[in-house]
Symmetry: C2
Subunit: 129 residues, 2 copies
DNA sequence: CTATCTGTTATATACTATATATAACACAAG
DNA sequence: CTTGTGTTATATATAGTATATAACAGATAG
């Protein structure tokens, strides 16, 4: 299944949905123009209210990942992906700083983080490590 | 000031306090054995309730960053820093995956993330870039 | 000894975020 | 006309966050 929800997580369900779809786009599982399940269908599949799915969809649309066409459906919009690269770089600074700060205190070498990132890139881009 | 709180942030105050102290340890501003302000003092300084500070301190102690000595004070405990490196690496995977996934969709090259991380390491370790 | 300061515990309150439930609406598509 | 979209509205419940106030117990300093 594309999305698996951890109901015991401290992460909100709508955030998990959002992240799952972003990862789907990154891995190529979801391609430009692909249609997403309706809020009711996806909600039923993963055992969640339609409003929770709708909240995730609204967030994804505001971030430019999908396009919601009223009374028609919801579609992947990976075309103008690079457009919001600048805003992403601005937003990812804080969480990255939090990770790096803890890494330094834990005596984790920067090379380890580099390797983790490379591995994630390779996995998403379909290259075996 | 060591800690600056953004009351408009979506990040909880106690998390901001936690992250600020971790960054302080990483940058060397807070050294092993240094004493932290009391929960009341720090609360008054940054305009926050003592329970909010206490929550951050409890979290930091559970993570091994500080040691709370009842009725004596609270102290930085950077000695066994590398001990919890394994757990850190396990925990940082998810947020890192979220960042990398979005980076891939935004067509942000891995080299950009590497550079950001290197810059943060250099800054924390006191090396000019 | 006394006063002060420490973290700690307890209780109460308020606000926000999250999530669900139910119903209805408007309109495109078959 | 029926079905299926996203959408809006309303209500409710729960949990997380934050504050407020008070008290406790013991280490420390005077």
């Amino acid at each position: 299944m594309l999305l698996s929800i951890d109901f015991g997580s401290d992460q909100p369900i709508y955030t998990q949905i959002r992240n799952g779809i972003v990862t789907g786009i990154a891995s190529g599982t979801l391609k430009d123009g692909d249609s997403l399940p309706s809020v009711r269908t996806l909600g039923a599949e993963i055992g969640v209210n339609l409003h929770t799915v709708n909240k995730a969809y609204q967030l994804l649309q505001s971030e430019g990942f999908i396009e919601i066409q009223r009374r028609r459906g919801t579609f992947i919009k990976a075309g103008n992906a690079a457009k919001n690269a600048a805003e992403f770089l601005k937003n990812c600074g804080d969480p990255l700083k939090t990770i790096v700060s803890e890494a330094v205190t834990r005596r984790v070498d920067r090379a380890v983080l580099h390797q983790m990132i490379d591995h994630m890139y390779d996995e998403l881009e379909g290259n075996e490590s």
